[in-house]
């Protein structure tokens, strides 16, 4: 190992006067750092323990149970898993295309003077608190959809099962749209960063072959950046799955499985936000903690996949293969 001139890193040993304090300093830093690992492990253990009653009572059937009845103490997670998955997938689908388009614009097309302020705006979109989106969704987007969009949807697609039933402003559709707006900046910002790392020589080679501007993007830039873009989408998915406040305020909070996007639904996060504070100790609270545990495990898995992708991209680069 190089001892000198390793940028941003210390040599392995120092021997000067007062170096006796070093092991202690190092140990303190180690303890502080290890706290992160302890928190993550404690979370998993603690939540498994707190949901033991529900785990014992329902077992794996909890995942497919369709009834959530605090009065008769029957609990099943399926309606909430369904709501979480459906809202996240709609949001990811819409945000994927729009976000990628915005990333292409920011990295490939936009002139320099517009790039910086626009990037800043997109990042700002990511920083606005979830509850603010919720307020906007309740008072602005919901009524707007009700009077301007839903009648048109029902007129054209009303025959399909996706747009059945009355629309009251709070629905799976409203929640998914606001979720889209919240996921968009993540997808756009990370995809932009990835696209910016594509070497200019790749573009120049395509231009040299007589490619049009779009062909340069679609055949040189995007294939080169695809692993990173996939990573951006998965990180966006992670955000969508766990998003709580805006969804709670907009989805209508009814645990039902319905294909209609105009009806109310509920997600893992939103049912927690609504019921946990008033939950009865015992089976109800235990079942709610199990919902949180499911959410935690899903987000751990999504994170691990995103990380694996990144690692594989790094390896592939070293080996010169895709």
């Amino acid at each position: 190992m190089a001892v000198m001139s390793t940028p941003g890193r210390l040599p392995a040993q120092a021997t000067g006067r007062g170096a006796t304090g070093d092991p202690a300093f190092r140990r303190v830093a180690l303890i502080l750092a290890t706290s992160v690992i302890i928190v993550v492990i404690a979370m998993l253990i603690n939540m498994t323990w707190e949901s033991r009653e529900s785990l014992n009572q329902f077992g794996l059937g909890f995942l497919v149970g369709q009834v959530w009845d605090p009065v008769h103490l029957v609990f099943g997670a399926l309606p909430f898993i369904y709501g979480t998955v459906i809202t996240s997938l709609i949001a990811l689908l819409l945000a994927g295309f729009v976000g990628l388009g915005t990333a292409i614009f920011l990295a490939e097309i936009a002139p320099g003077w517009i790039r910086t302020p626009l990037s800043f705006l997109v990042e700002l979109l990511a920083a606005i608190p979830s509850v603010v989106y919720g307020v906007w969704g309740i008072f602005i987007l919901g009524p707007f959809l009700k009077s301007n969009v839903v009648p048109g949807l029902k007129a054209t697609l009303g025959g399909t099962p996706f747009f059945q039933g009355a629309f009251y402003g709070q629905s799976i559709l409203t929640a998914s749209l606001v979720l889209t707006i919240m996921v968009l900046p993540i997808v756009a910002a990370i995809s932009r960063d990835v696209i910016l790392t594509v070497p200019a020589s790749q573009r120049e080679a395509m231009i040299g072959l007589g490619a049009t501007r779009w062909e340069v993007i679609s055949r040189a830039v995007l294939p080169y950046a695809r692993t990173g873009i996939l990573g951006a989408l998965i990180l966006g998915l992670g955000r969508a799955l766990g998003e709580t406040m805006a969804v709670t305020m907009l989805i209508g909070n009814r645990g039902q499985i319905t294909p209609s996007l105009l009806k109310a639904g509920d997600t893992l996060a939103s049912v927690l936000a609504n019921q946990f504070a008033e939950a009865q100790a015992g089976l109800q609270r235990s079942s709610l903690v199990e919902l949180a545990l499911i959410l935690l495990v899903i987000s751990l898995a999504v994170n691990a996949v995103a990380r694996l992708l990144v690692a594989r991209a790094g390896q592939a680069q070293g080996a010169g293969r895709i």
């Binding site: 000198m4 001139s5 390793t6 941003g8 210390l10 000067g16 007062g18 304090g21 070093d22 300093f25 830093a29 180690l30 303890i31 502080l32 750092a33 290890t34 992160v36 690992i37 404690a42 939540m47 729009v98 388009g101 915005t102 614009f105 626009l118 705006l121 979109l125 920083a127 606005i128 608190p129 979830s130 509850v131 603010v132 919720g134 906007w136 008072f139 602005i140 756009a188 790392t197 594509v198 080679a205 395509m206 080169y224 950046a225 695809r226 766990g242 709580t244 305020m249 927690l272 946990f276 903690v289 949180a292 959410l295 987000s299 751990l300 999504v302 994170n303 991209a313 592939a316 010169g320």
Partner: protein, 299 residues
């Protein structure tokens, strides 16, 4: 999380352009259509953003007056009420959260940047990533079980701990990245003059990285101040002034959430007012952070 682009294969030929429509005219039209769609995507990103910002300011700014910042919440028919206790509560919660997360986060960042074997550092970074990806509502559930149940009371302390867990991964990341930007020569110079390692880090490396760490800390606080979900069953909310660290406390985000669901005009107005205060806070912090980073980058 650093995501890198992948190189094209060596030896694998770039796809033959002739596989597309051979006619250049057709290809050019297609190119323009696709670029047009890119502009549509940009519009689809910008319009919601501008719509959110516009409505928050249009609806929220008129709700801001002296009462909003100085009075306690009142019944729905009282026109002279405010959310002063919520604003103070948010500040109190941020104070507790910072007291916990800054030492932990900066210490962990120092360890990852300056010490640590590569394998343990990978584990630490993974745990940091995991923690920053954990849905904030599950942090609330965790802290409920950890603090609220044993204390038998919702409390400011529980809310502060929950927000500390939100801030922690951001602080670790920022500290690590900023310390890595400090040239190794700074450390080597200090060590060569006989300074021990802890002094080298605390007196020379850390101060050099401090502006960046402070910026990151501000962003972490802004992020925490905008969080609602971890506070729902930790800090709980309160319509009075908070009386102690073991008592429930209000936060601006909680008021915005609860008032938005109420049918009374005055509470809805307070909700918009809270939304605009939160948005302004994010806006100002982001602009300050951007200015600070730009100045550093330009130097």
């Amino acid at each position: 999380m650093a995501i890198q682009a992948q190189p094209l294969t060596e030896g694998k030929p770039i796809r033959d352009l002739r596989r597309g429509p051979a006619n250049f005219q057709t290809r050019r039209v297609r190119s323009n259509v696709m670029l047009g769609l890119v502009y549509v995507a940009v519009a689809a990103t910008l319009i919601p953003l501008l719509a959110v910002l516009t409505w928050v300011f249009v609806q929220g700014l008129p709700a801001l007056n002296v009462d909003f910042f100085t009075k306690l919440p009142g019944p729905a028919d009282d026109p002279h009420q405010g959310v002063a206790n919520s604003i103070v509560g948010t500040v109190q919660l941020l104070g507790i959260a910072s007291l916990i997360s800054v030492p932990l986060g900066v210490g962990a960042g120092i360890y990852i940047a300056e010490f640590g074997g590569s394998r343990y550092n990978t584990l630490l970074r993974f745990a940091t990533d995991v923690l920053s990806g954990v849905p904030s509502i599950t942090i609330g559930v965790f802290v409920y079980a950890l603090v609220v149940l044993p204390m038998r009371s919702f409390s400011m302390l529980a809310g502060g701990i929950a927000l500390a867990l939100v801030m922690l991964p951001i602080l670790i990341r920022t500290t690590e990245e900023m310390l890595r930007l400090v040239p190794g020569a700074v450390r080597e110079a200090a060590l060569a003059l006989g300074a021990p390692m802890w002094k080298t880090i605390m007196r020379y490396a850390l101060p050099a990285a401090l502006p960046g760490i402070v910026t990151g800390g501000l962003l972490a606080m802004a992020r925490a101040a905008g969080e609602t979900a971890p506070l729902l069953f930790t800090a709980l909310g309160n319509n009075q002034w908070n009386t102690g660290i073991t008592q429930p406390v209000d936060a601006l985000t909680l008021k915005v959430f609860f008032y938005a669901g109420q049918p009374y005009e005055i509470w809805r107005r307070e909700s918009w007012g809270g939304a605009v205060v939160l948005t302004l806070m994010i806006l100002i912090t982001s602009i300050l952070a951007r200015l600070a980073t730009r100045r550093r980058a330009g130097r």
